[in-house]
């Protein structure tokens, strides 16, 4: 069971590094076990080195950089245990335009095997949707749907 955890831990590490590089356009990342002696109870530390910078704990990263790290970690796990569908709720909120573009490129790649439902306020993210639903509240307090379907 210790072997099983370490095996999946190393697979996540590898995927995390790959997705990180896609989202940061370079750089490196590392997942550290805070207690390598006690693998089944140990905490997991995240060290990230965006391109051009030195490695640091994720606490010192910016808001947008932290979003990218969280997305990279979730997708790293996702690659191992894919879900047939995935709902993202405004995970792009803190990203600048260049990072939203890298994020959308990542989504399009994962969308080959996974159905995505993405809640967003961002116009660039909306552009990669096959179908778009608008939710409105014309009548006080009551949600209604407006479907804005795109041609294929």
């Amino acid at each position: 069971s210790r072997e099983r955890f370490m095996e999946s831990f190393e697979r996540i590490q590898k995927n995390f590094q790959e997705v990180f590089v896609q989202l940061f356009d370079g750089g490196e990342t590392e997942l550290l076990l805070t207690d390598p002696e006690d693998v089944l109870e140990s905490g997991i530390e995240i060290i990230a080195r965006p391109p051009g910078k030195r490695p640091q704990s994720i606490t010192m990263l910016s808001g947008g950089e932290r979003s990218l790290v969280a997305i990279a970690l979730l997708f790293a796990v996702f690659k191992i245990k894919p879900s047939p569908f995935c709902v993202l709720d405004e995970v792009d909120a803190a990203l600048d335009e260049a990072n939203v573009m890298r994020f959308t490129r990542l989504i399009k790649e994962f969308a080959k095997d996974t159905q995505f439902i993405i809640i967003t306020h961002n116009k660039r993210t909306m552009e990669i949707a096959d179908v778009m639903y608008g939710v409105t509240m014309e009548q006080a307090g009551v949600s209604k749907l407006v479907s804005v379907k795109f041609a294929a």
């Binding site: 955890f5 095996e7 999946s8 831990f9 996540i12 805070t34 140990s42 905490g43 997991i44 995240i46 994720i58 932290r66 979003s67 790290v69 969280a70 997305i71 970690l73 979730l74 796990v77 996702f78 191992i80 245990k81 879900s83 047939p84 569908f85 995935c86 709902v87 993202l88 709720d89 405004e90 995970v91 989504i107 399009k108 969308a111 159905q115 995505f116 439902i117 993405i118 809640i119 967003t120 306020h121 993210t125 909306m126 990669i128 949707a129 096959d130 179908v131 778009m132 639903y133 608008g134 939710v135 409105t136 509240m137 009548q139 006080a140 307090g141 009551v142 949600s143 749907l145 479907s147």
Partner: protein
């Protein structure tokens, strides 16, 4: 397996019945603040069996039932139906589509249904076991969960890793 259709009625701000049809690709949900987008995500979690009212931003499960607008009275029943395409037989059922439904009445009476016959919550969980529908898909759903994932103690963060191992 992919989501086919979601029907929401009486759940949170969806007082009247609303139907979303999903394609296998990418669906975007957009609209102004407070219009109900995250509530759609909550509806998917809820019909899949979410038991924590807190993760649905509620104090008690009864809070998911439409509690009225300035002009509209509260509803007494919340019902969400999720239809999944099962052509690839990932779900352990014979039908090419599988429909799950969850209801909650203000009296506290609640029900789960698979293909329109009543079942237990456990049957819904077992249906999705080994399909990958679970914690990871869920953990991607919450608005502002980026900080949750990164602000947790290194000790708590390992839930994501244990889930996969």
């Amino acid at each position: 397996m992919h989501l086919d259709k979601l029907i929401i009625k009486g759940f949170k701000s969806f007082a009247d019945e609303v139907e979303l049809v999903f394609e296998p690709g990418i669906t975007a949900i957009v609209g102004p603040n407070g219009c109900g987008k995250s509530n759609v995500s909550d509806a998917i979690r809820w019909v899949l069996g979410e038991q924590s009212s807190r993760s649905l931003r509620c104090r008690k499960m009864e809070d998911v039932i439409f509690n009225g607008g300035v002009e509209l009275k509260p509803k007494n029943l919340s019902a969400v139906t999720l239809r999944l395409d099962n052509e690839d037989s990932i779900l352990p059922l014979e039908t090419p589509a599988v429909e799950i439904m969850r209801q909650l009445h203000r009296s506290g009476e609640s029900g789960y249904f698979i293909n329109q016959s009543q079942c237990l919550l456990r049957d819904i969980s077992e249906l999705f076991m080994d399909t990958g529908v679970g914690m990871t898909a869920y953990s991607l759903m919450e608005q502002s969960n980026i900080d949750v994932l990164l602000n947790t103690q290194p000790q708590e963060r390992r839930f994501l890793f244990d889930e996969v191992a």
